[in-house]
Symmetry: C2
C-alpha cells in the first residue's frame, strides 16, 4: 500500500500521513466509524461523507453471518451493496474472539464460533478469513487474530501472540497467492498482540514485520487495561513498528484517548464510542460531554455545540433534540449520531492540521483543557 | 385563505387547486405525511422536502403534552422548533377523542383527556384548542371536533355532529377575535361530522358553511365504515361543500382510497399508512405492495421500485433493504419511509397533472390496474 509521511510533529511522535486505495486517498490521523453489519447505525452513506468520513469499518464475522457471502458476492461486494464508494476496512473477527467469549473455541487451526443469531457453528481459519474478506471486497483486510483481555497472565498472552503470529504467516502467504474479486486492489494488515508484555509485543512486531504487511494494527488494547498502561504499550509498539507502514490502534477510543495515541504516532482508529454514545443521548461538544435528556436542556435553544457547524448544529436546538429523545423518536438518534461522527472527524482533521503546522501538543492541550471545562457527564 | 381552482376534470369531480399560506403555496391534490409529535418518523426536514412534501401534519394533543406549550412558545413556534419552513396543518385532538376512547370524557364544554404518557388530566375546550394552535403556529388549524366510530347509531352521530357544530361556532368567533403570535397568518378549517347519515352531514355542512371557515375537513370517516360507504359519504359531502374552499378528507388512506376521493373532489389528505407501513417493511411500488422481509428479496438487486427515481431506489437494492430489516437496522426504516412518502407524493402529483390534462379517470384506471398487477401482499 502506497503511503507517505506528510509531516512529523517536532515535539512528539505525532505524524500526518497519506495512504492510497483504489477507492480514494486517506489523510491521517483518521478515525473510522463502525458499520459492523453494513451500516453505521442510523446514517446514510451521504451522511457519512457529509460528516467528513474518509473510511469506514465493517466486520468480517457479522457480514459473514448476515447477509452472508452468497449475497455479498452477487452484489459485487460490500461497497456496491451498501452504496459506499470510499474505502472500507474490515476487521478479522478477532475482536469477537474476545467479546463472544462464551460462543467461541480457539484451536491451533482457528476459531469456532457459535452464531449469536441462531447458534449455528462456523469455523474461521486464517485463509478462510482472507477468503471472506475477498468476497466482502474491503480495501484493507485484517488477519485473523486472537485477542485476550487485559490483564491476562504472560502464558495466556504469549499463547495469543503465538497463535496470532502463526495465523498471520499462513494468512499472508495465502493472501499473496490470491487475487481480489472485483477489479480493485486489497491490502492486508496484520494484528500485533502480546498483551501488556513488552517482550511479547516486541516479538510480535518484529516477526510480523518480516512478513511485510501493508500496515499494522495494534490489537489487544482497549480490552481492560488502564489508560496509563494502554499509552505505555502503544508507545512501546509504535517505537518498534516500521516507519513507512500505516499504524492502526484498534478499538480506541474517547477523544482524549485518540489524542494520546496520535501523540505516540498512531495513524488510524476505530471505535463505537461516538455512535453508541449518540444513541444513548451523550453528545460530544467542545466543552465536554452533554447528556441531552437532562432537564436543563428542555428550553435550551442553542445548538448542541455552538462552535460546531455540522448539519445537526446548524438547524436544530438542544431543546428539539431533547424532545426527540424524550419521546423516543428515531430522528433524535440520527441527529445525535451525525453530530458525534462529525465531532470525531473534526477532531482528527484538526489534529492533522496541527501536525502539519508543527503544533500538535499545543492543539492537544488546548483541546483537552476546553473539553474538560464545562461539559456535563 | 386565498385559493383558486386550476382545473376540473371533465369526467369526474376531480380538481386541481392552489392555496396560499405565508409558508408557501400548496398545489392540490396534496397528501400530508403525519408528524404528530414534531417529526415524520425517521425523516429529516430535508428528506421531506426532497421527497416532494408540500405540507405536513402535526397533532395538537400530542404537541400539547410534549414538548408542551411553554417550550413551543419559547422556540417561536413549531416551524422553528423542528426546522421546517413549509406549511403545517394541525389537527385538533378530535381524532384522539376517537382513538383514546378509554382515556377521555366528552362534555358539552369540551373533552377531558388523560395523558397517555403519565395519566395527568387535561381539559380541551374549543377556545383552548385555538390557543394551543396559536402557540404551535400551524398555518392551518382545525376546530375541536367529536369523532365517533362507524357505524354509530343516529342518536350518537347526531350528538357528535351537534357538539362539533357548537364547538365550531365558539372556536370560529374566538379565532376571529384573536391574532397569530409569530407574524404570519393562520387559517382555520372546520370539521364536518354526521357519521354515515346524509341528513346529518347536510346539516353539518350547511351550518358550518355559514361560519365561513377557510376550509372544510370531512371528519368521521376512515373510522370503521366500508370503502363503499366512505365513498358515498365523501361524494355526498363534496357535492354540498362550497366550491371555493379547500376540502380535506381526514385520515385517508391507501393509494386507491386517495384516488377514489380525488375523483369525488377532495383536495387534501393525511394518513399514517405510508409511514407506518414502511416501518413494518411494506413498501408501495407501481405494481402493488412489496413486503421487504420476504425471502425472495434476499438476492434481488433491483431497486425497490424499478420505476421510481427516489433516493432509496436510485442507490439501494431490495436485497440491501431486506438485509437492514433482517438485522433490525434503523437505516432500513428510514429508507423505506423515504420511499413510501415519495411514492405518495408522486401519486398526488401525477393525479394533479392528469387533472390538468383532463384525463384523471384514465390515469386512475391505469394506475390501479398496474397497482393490482404484481405486488405481493
Amino acid at each position: 500500500m502506497r503511503m507517505k509521511i506528510d509531516a512529523v510533529d517536532p515535539a512528539s511522535r505525532a505524524r500526518a500521513t497519506t495512504f492510497y486505495t483504489d477507492h480514494g486517498t486517506v489523510l491521517t490521523p483518521v478515525f473510522m466509524p463502525v458499520g459492523s453489519i453494513g451500516t453505521v447505525k442510523t446514517l446514510s452513506p451521504e451522511d457519512l461523507s457529509g460528516a467528513g468520513v474518509q473510511i469506514m469499518l465493517a466486520n468480517t464475522y457479522h457480514l459473514y453471518l448476515k447477509p452472508g457471502l452468497d449475497i455479498l458476492e452477487k452484489a459485487g461486494g460490500l461497497h456496491k451493496f451498501i452504496h459506499w464508494s470510499r474505502p472500507i476496512l474490515t476487521d478479522s473477527g478477532g475482536f469477537q474472539v474476545y467479546s463472544l467469549n462464551e460462543l467461541r473455541k480457539v484451536t491451533e487451526e482457528g476459531v469456532e464460533f457459535k452464531s449469536h443469531w441462531d447458534g449455528s457453528r462456523h469455523f474461521f481459519t486464517p485463509p478462510k478469513v482472507v477468503d471472506i474478506q475477498r468476497v466482502i471486497g474491503s480495501d484493507i483486510i485484517l488477519t485473523l487474530d486472537y485477542c485476550v483481555p487485559n490483564p491476562s497472565d504472560e502464558t495466556t498472552a504469549r499463547h495469543a501472540h503465538f497463535l496470532t503470529l502463526e495465523w498471520a504467516k499462513t494468512a499472508r502467504h495465502y493472501f499473496l497467492s490470491g487475487s481480489p474479486l472485483y477489479g480493485f486492489q486489497q491490502f492486508q494488515f496484520a494484528v500485533i498482540q502480546g498483551g501488556i508484555y513488552p517482550e511479547l509485543r516486541k516479538q510480535s512486531i518484529d516477526q510480523l514485520g518480516e512478513l511485510d504487511f501493508d500496515g499494522y494494527a495494534i490489537g489487544g488494547l482497549a480490552v481492560g487495561e488502564s489508560l496509563e498502561m494502554r499509552n505505555q504499550i502503544t508507545e512501546f509498539c509504535v517505537s518498534r513498528m516500521p516507519e513507512l507502514k500505516t499504524r492502526y490502534l484498534m478499538g480506541v477510543g474517547t477523544p482524549g484517548d485518540v489524542l494520546d495515541a496520535i501523540e505516540r504516532g498512531v495513524d488510524m482508529f476505530d471505535c463505537v464510542i461516538p455512535t453508541r454514545n449518540a444513541r444513548n443521548g451523550t453528545l460530544f461538544i467542545s466543552t465536554g460531554k452533554l447528556v441531552i435528556r437532562n432537564a436543563e436542556y428542555k428550553d435550551d435553544f442553542q445548538p448542541v455545540d455552538p462552535e460546531c457547524d455540522c448539519y445537526c448544529c446548524r438547524h436544530f436546538s438542544r431543546a428539539y433534540l431533547r424532545h426527540l429523545f424524550n419521546v423516543n423518536e428515531i430522528l433524535g438518534l440520527r441527529l445525535a449520531t451525525y453530530h458525534n461522527v462529525h465531532f470525531y472527524m473534526k477532531l482528527v482533521k484538526q489534529a492533522r492540521e496541527a501536525i502539519m503546522d508543527g503544533a500538535f501538543i499545543k492543539f492537544k492541550n488546548h483541546f483537552l483543557e476546553k473539553f474538560s471545562s464545562g461539559g456535563k457527564d
